[in-house]
């Protein structure tokens, strides 16, 4: 039962209030591409154009490039120092349910076994304010991937569009605490709940792209050695990194050093299993051929990740389909994976 709401025209005031406690991130096109960026203090024009960002919100916790540590070579040898931990309290405003679920999926890796200090220090201090979709894209298929356009499961607050206002669903203790401290919110009216239910249903029905993932883990296992299938599937892929770099559940990174004179930095930056050199060793490369890399991507998301974490590493955000230069479509591929009877070994 949500009992608070906010008018769309008051969003700037709301974000301004929150800015006092948090660094607020909101959708923005200022950089030239739709991404979550530090809120400039006044713009709420995104409410008109925002469907989803190109750069996924994971960039807030796993930035495109990050300095891991600095080192200096002195007379006494090397000296290593980490930059100060980024423990800013971030508030991400406008996170879509697909991206929120994706962040929860990526969290599993960064928490598993060795804890990743860079990712987790940013993540633990972040508040996610979700924004339920009203206008899903034709490439969206979240409803087939364990979530839906207004799913509140992985955010602290979920805002549901009920016309000129957003109904505020308080999801976690963090979210409730934030709302308790927030002034000038309106009380929800008696029929707002019904409006929200209608809004949710409309958004749900607008997701027309569907994918049946029943048994996909086993089908992929059975087809692993079906070279002919994978070669055909990979034929039009051009091995760029768009689908993986901009995927909210992808997290692969590269580590590189740079040193100028006596000072240096170790960086980590986004990497992609689609790149030919991703697995290259000096004497051999197990994924030299394109079809092996395409197979890796599909299997990692729909077979290996479920084997380890019991969840498919895909939330149906559709970015890969929209942005792929050749319109390679994961939903079409998953549908076409042969099952045991058809797979050729």
């Amino acid at each position: 039962m949500a009992d608070k709401k906010v008018s769309k025209k008051d969003i700037a005031r709301l974000l301004e209030q929150w800015s006092r406690q948090f660094t607020v991130f909101a959708p923005s096109k200022e950089s030239g591409v739709a991404a979550m960026a530090e809120w400039d203090g006044k713009d709420t024009g995104f409410l008109d154009w925002y469907r989803n960002t190109i750069i996924p919100p994971k960039a807030s916790f796993l930035p495109q490039m990050e300095e891991m540590f600095h080192f200096q070579k002195g007379e006494e040898g090397y000296n290593i120092k980490t930059p100060p931990a980024d423990e800013r309290s971030r508030l991400l405003f406008g996170v879509r349910p697909c991206d929120a679920r994706a962040m929860a999926i990526v969290d599993m890796t960064f928490k598993d076994a060795y804890e990743d200090p860079y990712y987790l220090s940013k993540r633990k201090n972040a508040v996610l304010v979700g924004l339920g979709c009203t206008n899903p894209c034709e490439s969206c298929f979240c409803t087939s991937m364990g979530t839906n356009p207004t799913d509140q499961t992985n955010v602290d607050l979920m805002l549901i569009d009920i016309g000129d206002e957003f109904l505020i669903e308080e999801v976690t203790a963090k979210g409730k605490e934030l709302i308790a401290k927030t002034k000038d919110l309106k009380e929800a009216a008696k029929n707002d709940e019904a409006k929200a239910t209608q809004s949710k249903k409309t958004a749900y029905d607008r997701v027309t792209r569907k994918l049946d993932t029943e048994g996909i883990k086993d089908r992929l296992l059975a087809s692993f050695d079906d070279k002919e299938y994978w070669e055909q599937t990979a034929a039009k892929c051009i091995s760029c990194g768009i689908c993986t770099l901009l995927c909210p559940t992808c997290y692969c990174f590269d580590i590189n050093d740079e040193m100028v004179k006596q000072e240096g930095t170790r960086f980590r930056s986004w990497d992609s299993c689609g790149f030919p050199n991703y697995t290259k060793m000096p004497m051999e490369n197990p994924r030299q051929e394109k079809w092996r890399r395409v197979r890796q991507k599909v299997c990692h998301k729909y077979e290996f990740y479920p084997m380890t974490f019991d969840v498919i590493a895909c939330t149906g955000c559709g970015r890969c389909i929209r942005l792929c230069p050749v319109n390679w479509d994961i939903t079409r591929v998953i549908e076409s994976v042969p099952d045991k009877a058809e797979a050729k070994k």
Binding site: Y78, A113, Y114, R287, R292, E303, F304, T308
Partner: protein, 286 residues
């Protein structure tokens, strides 16, 4: 899945290397060197432990990091060793370092050879080229606890006599009467008096029986590819065949995504695997 072993984190951060100093360099072959090293920090030097099979991420700070197993045995902890083949950017940079130079070390990472399950068994070590490095750690470990293990066969080969690594070990093991040491080369030279033939073929000739035996295989992928079928023919079940895999690695802790074979990460769930664990995806390797 390994637990968060924070024992040897530098400054509480898993990605930070410790500084270590190179104490000795051994030229194994024209392209392969063994480095002996120790941590700069006294306390770490005393406290550091690892198990046979584990690896470290070694940095030449400013150039990069590379993965090498720890080739010394934990039963001889006065110093640590790793073996390097000069093949790329980081290994070339390493080869330019001399005694006294500083390197970075993160680790020990990965799982280890399952010593408990090897006790009371016959052991067949099958190695090729620099692949003897991880096996070496285990072999000395076993020798230092000899009475806990039964028969030991070591079948080791390289392309030519000059490419044989750890020649001093081969000599010691050859002199040990409790070990059947078989060395071979793909191609002999004028002075070579030993066996000639690729390792899988020599292994087939030696034909160690499979009962109560575990085979531990490490070498170039092509050698491994032909060794598994030989072992299968000799009656070894997939659980009786162990190997250590090698992959391009960056984080070494199962996060950066690249070293996987199927759903297993070589850095975190390996590098030691039984053939049973990887047989569904082994076609992607060989």
């Amino acid at each position: 899945m390994t637990v968060n072993d924070t024992r040897f984190f530098a400054q509480g951060n898993v990605y930070l290397p410790h500084i270590a100093v190179i104490e000795k360099i051994v030229e194994e072959t024209p392209g392969v060197r063994t480095y002996h090293f120790n941590f700069k920090d006294e306390k770490l030097r005393k406290e550091f432990t690892f198990q046979s099979g584990q690896f470290g991420q070694y940095s030449v700070l400013g150039t990069g990091e590379a993965t090498f197993c720890i080739s010394s045995s934990p039963t001889r902890p006065d110093h640590l060793e790793f073996a390097v083949q000069k093949v790329g950017r980081v290994t070339n940079a390493l080869s330019r370092l001399g005694v006294g130079a500083e390197i970075g070390f993160r680790g020990p990472y990965g799982n280890s050879f399952p010593l408990e399950s090897l006790k009371g068994k016959n052991l067949v070590f099958v190695g090729g080229g620099i692949g003897l490095a991880p096996l070496r750690s285990l072999i000395w470990n076993v020798i230092d606890n000899r009475d806990k293990y039964k028969k030991i066969d070591i079948v080791y080969g390289a392309r030519t006599p000059v490419d044989l690594c750890f020649k001093y070990d081969l000599e010691s093991w050859g002199k040990d009467k409790t070990i059947n040491m078989v060395t071979t080369v793909d191609r002999g030279d004028d002075s070579w008096k030993g066996k000639v033939g690729v390792v899988p073929k020599i292994l087939e000739e030696i034909a160690p029986p499979a009962r109560d035996t575990v085979a531990i295989v490490c070498g170039p992928p092509i050698m491994i590819r032909f060794t598994f079928p030989v072992l299968e023919k000799l009656g070894f079940k997939p659980e009786q065949m162990l190997t250590t895999l090698e992959k391009r690695m960056k984080c070494g802790i199962g996060k950066c995504g690249r070293c996987n074979i199927g759903n297993l990460y070589v850095c975190k769930d390996g590098p030691v695997f039984s053939y049973a664990q990887i047989k569904d995806f082994v076609s992607s390797e060989y």
